[in-house]
Amino acid sequence: MSNFSPVTSLLGGVLIGLASVWLLAASGRIAGISGILHGLFAQPPGDRSWRVLFIAGLITAGLAWHAFVAPAPVREGFGLGWAAAAGLLVGFGTRVGGGCTSGHGVCGLGRFSLRSLVAVAIFMATGMASTYVMRHVL
C-alpha cells in the first residue's frame, strides 16, 4: 500500500460526483463517459454539441493540469498494440454493457440501480483478473 493517496483520491472523487450532478441538474444528462463518446457516432446523428463540449472539457482539464499542477505521466514498456487491444475491448464492452466506471459506477450506483451494481461487480472482477494475468502471468 505504498502509493495510497486517501485525501486526494477522496477529494477527486467528490469533484467527479459534483460534475455528474452538475450535468444532470443543468442538462438532464447522465455523465456516463462511454455513452457520451459512443453517442457522438450514433446513427441517425442526435444532439452532438453537448457531447463535444463535455469531451472538450475533459481534455481542457488535462491540459490545464499539466500546465499548472503536474506533468503528464509517462509509461515505459506498454506497447501501442496493447493500447489498441485494450481500447477495442473497452469500446465494445461499454457499448454492449451500456456503461462504464462513470455511467454504471458513479451515476448508476448513485441512483441505487441493481443493474449497475451487477455491472460494477463484474468489471471490477474481470479487471482484477486481467491485470493479474498481465502483471504476474505474461
Binding site: 463517459i33 493540469w65 509509461r75 475491448l89 465494445f92 466506471t101 474481470t126 482484477m128 483478473a129 494475468v133
Partner: protein, 130 residues
Amino acid sequence: MIHALGAGILFGIGLWLSGMANPRKVLDFLDVAGDWDPSLLLVMAGAVAVTALTFRPLIRKKDLRFDKTAIDIPLVAGAAIFGIGWGIGGYCPGPAITALSNLTLEPLVFVAAMVGGGLLARIWPSSPGR
C-alpha cells in the same frame, strides 16, 4: 451548453486529482496480488457519496426514466469484456479521453480503438443502452 463544458472540466480535474487519469495507479488498484493501492476505492466512495445524496431527487424532479432494469446477457458480457480491457491498459473511457491532453500516442491509440470497438458493437443483436 456552457454547463456541459464546465461539467467536463470539473470531471477532468477530479480524474487528475484523484489519480484515476494515471493508468499505472489504476493498475496498482486492480493488482490485488501486488503492492495494492486501495486509493480508487476512495475515488468511487467520494463520487458515489455525492451522487447517492442527489441523484434520486433530481431524477424525480426532472421526471427522467431508465427503462432498462434487466440483468441480461448484454449487461453481463459487456461489463466482463470492458473489465478485461480496463485491466490490460488501466484506462476506462473518462481517463483515456482526458489523457489525450498528454499529447502522446498511447491514449490516442486507445481512444481511437475504443471508438472502433463501439462501432463494432453494432453487430451485437440487441440495441445498445446508455
